[in-house]
């Protein structure tokens, strides 16, 4: 009788052991699978973070460059306003009209060429005749210590050939 009980207990323990083993194995398998998934997810997240960081760095660099370039574009107008404040064009016109005329025409020619260049036109356009040989004018270059660029509205066809 006792041996039958012992055998029963033994069988029950074996059953429990088998159940424990299979359950544990299943759990280990699930956990391993989850671990692989987590590793993949972590790798993806890590890659995303790297890509976003790189993107942020690139964007920051480009934004800084843009800010600098936008600032540079202000320089011409600022410089012109400064020169116009410093100079007295009316007095210059009365004192020496041809000198002022030469400076204005030089600055105008330079301005048109700057416009062309910044639009992608790399052609080396020769200076107009009235800037090349006109002795009536003063300084014919775009004198840095002069003002501005003219914007005379006269059309090309009406421009004299000096």
């Amino acid at each position: 009788m006792l041996s039958k009980v012992l055998i029963g207990v033994l069988i029950a323990m074996l059953g429990m052991g088998y159940w424990y083993y299979t359950t544990t194995q299943k759990r280990i398998s699930i956990l391993t699978e989850n671990n692989v998934k987590l590793e993949v997810a972590a790798k993806v997240s890590e890659d995303s973070i790297k890509a976003l960081t790189k993107q942020a760095e690139t964007n920051q660099k480009l934004t800084l460059q843009l800010q600098n370039d936008l600032q540079k574009a202000e320089a011409y107008g600022d410089n012109l306003r400064k020169k116009l404040r410093e100079l007295d064009l009316l007095a210059d016109a009365i004192r020496d009209a041809s000198n002022l005329e030469g400076r204005m025409n030089g600055a105008t020619a330079k301005l048109w060429r700057d416009f062309m260049e910044s639009s992608g036109n790399s052609t080396d356009v020769p200076l107009p005749n009235w800037l090349q040989s006109d002795s009536r004018k003063g300084n014919t270059s775009s004198n840095p210590d002069t003002k501005s660029d003219s914007t005379s509205s006269s059309e090309a066809q009406t421009s004299p050939a000096g």
Partner: protein, 90 residues
């Protein structure tokens, strides 16, 4: 989203313009020279102040065009980097 970078507009091809500075001392010389060169004595005159204003206006237009240009370059560079990285910007 990938947007193709399109070609820039045709570059500017500007023509030179001539300014005459005239005062009471050189007016007669100007009239003679101008008539010789243009055939007729008809011109557009600007006061010095208006010339300055015109120059300032042009300078501001220049500033605007250059800044627009820089912004286009910025976007083009961003698109290019995106292509190189194979990543997509939000």
């Amino acid at each position: 989203m990938t947007v193709p970078v399109v070609a820039r507009p045709k570059p500017l091809q500007l023509v030179d313009t001539r300014v005459y500075v005239v005062n009471k001392d050189n007016y007669e010389q100007f009239v003679k020279q101008f008539t010789d060169e243009n055939g007729e004595l008809a011109y557009v005159a600007l006061a010095i102040k208006d010339y300055e204003n015109l120059a300032l206006n042009i300078a501001d237009i220049k500033r605007f065009i250059e800044q627009q240009n820089e912004i286009i370059v910025y976007y083009e560079s961003a698109m290019k980097k995106e292509d190189e990285d194979g990543t997509e910007k939000p």
